[in-house]
C-alpha cells in the first residue's frame, strides 16, 4: 500500500540537509506552509537557499526562518512589503543574498524545471536591469531573453486536502505556487488541513497528482473554516476577530 502520509510535521521535514535549496509555496501568507516552516526551524537545517515569491511577512513562517539566520540566499520577486521588516533588516545588514526575478519568470522557470524544459525564451524583463547579461533573441519580430529552470532539493507546499497517494487540491488563491513547486523539487513535502480517503478526491479536480508528492502531513483545519465550510471571523492574517475596532490591516502597496 502506498501511504505518503506522515504523522507529524517533524517527520515531514526530517532529513533536510544544511545547504539545501528549498522552495516554499505561498503568495504572501496565502498558501504559505507555516507549520512546515516552523518544523524546519525546529529541525535545524541552515545555510539554506529559499525560493518564494516574497521574503517573509511579519514575524511568522518564512520571516521567522529568516530571523533565525538560517537562510543564506533568497530568490523571489517581491521582498519589500509593509511587513517584511525581518528581511529588510538582514538585507541592509548584508546578511542575506537576494536574487530578484520577475514573478512570471519565477513561475515559468519553476514550471520548466518540473516539465523537463532545458531553457526558454521569455519576453518578460527584456530591456530592463533584470535581463542584463541574458542571451537575447528576436523571434517573429519580438525580443526574448533566455531563462533557465529553477529546481530545488525540497519543496514545502501548503495545500487543502490530500489522499494517501499524495493527490492534492488547494483552496482559492492559496493554490498559487503549490502545483509548480511540487513538480520542481526532488522531495516535495505538503501540509494539508485534512487527509481524505483514497477515492474521495474527484479525479477531474485533482490539481497536483500524487506523482509530484513525497510526504503529506495533516495540520488541522484552517481557522476560517468549520467542517469544510467558510466561517469567516478572522482578519487577513487569519487571526480571530476578537473585538470590534481591532487595528485594520495596512493597505500599503505590496505585490
Amino acid at each position: 500500500m502506498i501511504d505518503k502520509t506522515v504523522g507529524s510535521v517533524a517527520e515531514a521535514v526530517a532529513g533536510i540537509r544544511d545547504g539545501a535549496t528549498i522552495m516554499i509555496g505561498g503568495f504572501g501568507r496565502a498558501g504559505q506552509p507555516v507549520e512546515l516552516i516552523d518544523a524546519l526551524i525546529a529541525q535545524g537545517a541552515t545555510d539554506l537557499t529559499i525560493i518564494n515569491n516574497n521574503a517573509g511577512n511579519g514575524d511568522v513562517g518564512l520571516a521567522a526562518l529568516l530571523a533565525k539566520k538560517r537562510v543564506r540566499k533568497i530568490l523571489c520577486s517581491f521582498p519589500r512589503q509593509h511587513d517584511s521588516w525581518v528581511f529588510d533588516g538582514l538585507y541592509r545588514a548584508g546578511e542575506i543574498e537576494l536574487e530578484l526575478v520577475p514573478q512570471g519568470n519565477l513561475a515559468e522557470r519553476i514550471r520548466a524545471a518540473g516539465a523537463g524544459i532545458g531553457a526558454f525564451f521569455s519576453p518578460t524583463g527584456v530591456g530592463t536591469q533584470l535581463a542584463e547579461g541574458k542571451e537575447l533573441r528576436e523571434i517573429d519580430g519580438r525580443t526574448y531573453a533566455l531563462e533557465y529552470p529553477i529546481k530545488a532539493d525540497v519543496a514545502l507546499v501548503g495545500a487543502y486536502r490530500a489522499d494517501r497517494w499524495g493527490n492534492l487540491v488547494y483552496r482559492e488563491t492559496a493554490r498559487n505556487f503549490g502545483p509548480i513547486m511540487a513538480a520542481a523539487a526532488t522531495t516535495t513535502i505538503v501540509q494539508v488541513d485534512e487527509i481524505v480517503p483514497l477515492g474521495a478526491l474527484d479525479p477531474e479536480s485533482v490539481v497536483t497528482p500524487g506523482i509530484f508528492v513525497d510526504r503529506v502531513v495533516a495540520v488541522g483545519e484552517r481557522g476560517w473554516l468549520s467542517d469544510g465550510a467558510f466561517a469567516g471571523g478572522v482578519d487577513i492574517e487569519g487571526r480571530p476577530l476578537v473585538r470590534a475596532g481591532s487595528p485594520a490591516e495596512g493597505n500599503e502597496v505590496d505585490q
Binding site: 520577475p102 469567516g232 482578519d235
Partner: protein
Amino acid sequence: MSATDSAPSATRITREQLAARIAQDIPEGSYVNLGIGAPTLVADYLPQDQEIILHTENGMLGMGPSPATGAVDPDLINAGKQPVTALPGSAYFHHADSFGMMRGGHLDVCVLGAFQVSQAGDLANWSTGAPGAIPAVGGAMDLAIGAKNVYVMTDLLTKTGESKLVEACTYPLTGVSCVTRVYTDHAVFDVTPEGFAVREAFGDNTIELLAELTGLELKPAETPGIPEEN
C-alpha cells in the same frame, strides 16, 4: 507656446475621477488586470450593469469586491494581498498558468501605475534606482509586456513638479515600448509612433499647456475620444 506659471491655471481631476475616466474606456466583456495601488480604484467605477472580468495574477479570474469585515477569507486575496471575493463564473489557477495568460496576450487591458513613461511607450514603475533601496518587482514586468492594452494611471507631475511623461526614462525600466495610453490628472495621452498624442485634455487644459508642463512636443490624437479596439 508662451512661458507662463501654468500650475494655477491647469485643470486637475481627482484620482477617483481619473479612475472613472479609465473605467469608461473598458468595454463589456473585457478581461482586465488592475495593478496594485491606485489602479484598483478603477474597479469601483466599472458599470454595474456590465460584465467585465477581473484577473488577479496570483491566480484568479472573476474577482469580486472586498468582503465585509467578518467575512474576510485569507485564502482569497488579490495581488496586493488584500481580501477579495469570487463572483459566479470565477476560476482559480496556479501561478504559471496565470502568468502564461498574461504573457500570452490574453488580457485585454491592464492598468498600471508609473514613475515615468517615455514617448516610445517605455514604462518605469518598479524602482527609483535609489541607492540602498530594496528592489522588488513582483508581476509588474509581466503585466507591462503582457496585456493587449497597457494603460498607465498616474499624476502628470511628480510632487516636485517634474513631468512623468518624458523623452526617455531615467528610472530603471519595467518594460520597453509597452504602454498604449497614459491617463493622467491633466489629460489622456496615446502613445503613438510619433510620440505622445493628446486624446483628451481635461477642463480648460490645452495642448500648449500640456506641452509646457511636460516639455514635450505633443499633437492631438487622430481619433480623439474613440477607444481603440481591444
